[in-house]
Symmetry: C2
């Protein structure tokens, strides 16, 4: 199985390394979130609100690729901590627009900066050229067939 010319070995090996790298980088960057008491999902929600402004839950779900049932709970927890507030849309009462509170804004701004720095540090292991190569290869991999379906 270790013969480097073996296509099966090569593919599985590449797959394993890709997964490990993603896991490791996630683990390291998520420490910045954990340090602020935020889960990855909570960070995702706050970050979406920071960069896109107030959003309804459906849009948040789409942005972080999670189900709407889940978003209800994540936002419940953020609301309990006073980081976001829900506002019922007066035009169409089905919509709840989620807003960052001042505390939420303040928190996500600093945590986002920390996470960004952690990502930079992680990627800094690779040279500029290597980062571009990696990006290109990953993109090619993701584009395979029908997108994310």
């Amino acid at each position: 199985m270790k013969s480097t010319g073996n296509p099966t070995y090569r593919a599985l090996n590449c797959y394993t390394k890709l997964m490990r790298a993603a896991e490791t980088v996630t683990l390291r960057t998520s420490r910045q979130m954990a340090a602020a008491g935020l889960t990855i999902s909570q960070f995702g929600v706050l970050e979406a609100l920071l960069h896109k402004g107030p959003l309804c839950q459906r849009d948040i779900a789409a942005k972080i690729l999670k189900s709407t049932g889940n978003i209800t709970m994540v936002i419940d927890n953020l609301e309990k901590r006073g980081l976001v507030r829900r506002e019922r849309d007066s035009e169409d009462r089905r919509y709840l627009t989620v807003h960052l509170t001042d505390a939420g804004s303040q928190l996500i701004e600093t945590v986002f900066a920390d996470v960004e720095a952690a990502i930079m540090a992680e990627m800094g292991t690779l040279s500029a050229t290597e980062q571009e190569q990696l990006g290109t290869l990953c993109k090619k991999l993701g584009l395979n067939k029908e997108g994310r379906s």
Copy 2:
């Protein structure tokens, strides 16, 4: 932010593509497991047992990088389906050795082959050289600093 010479942009962009690629590939390969009614964790446990033989729960947890509390539950579910059985070690009664049943062996063998084929198909988007490049870059990324700690 889109200036390609910007190191922050380059790092974040590369990070995003890496994460997306890993997610997409996981999503696609996990369909093979889902088709057999197995979750990713259940697949991990069965695969460990297939390739390493009977293991105690602690070793299984270490193999799939999950907590032992979690393994208890995953194995409960596999046991309910008759895919594995627990056997109390007669030497040291703290240990439960987990064995594949015949049904479990049969299932994991076919599902493993399917998953392997799916991984091959995914990685097949890249040429042999590209796979090796990707593997090298991912490995370099993961090796950064203190391993997985």
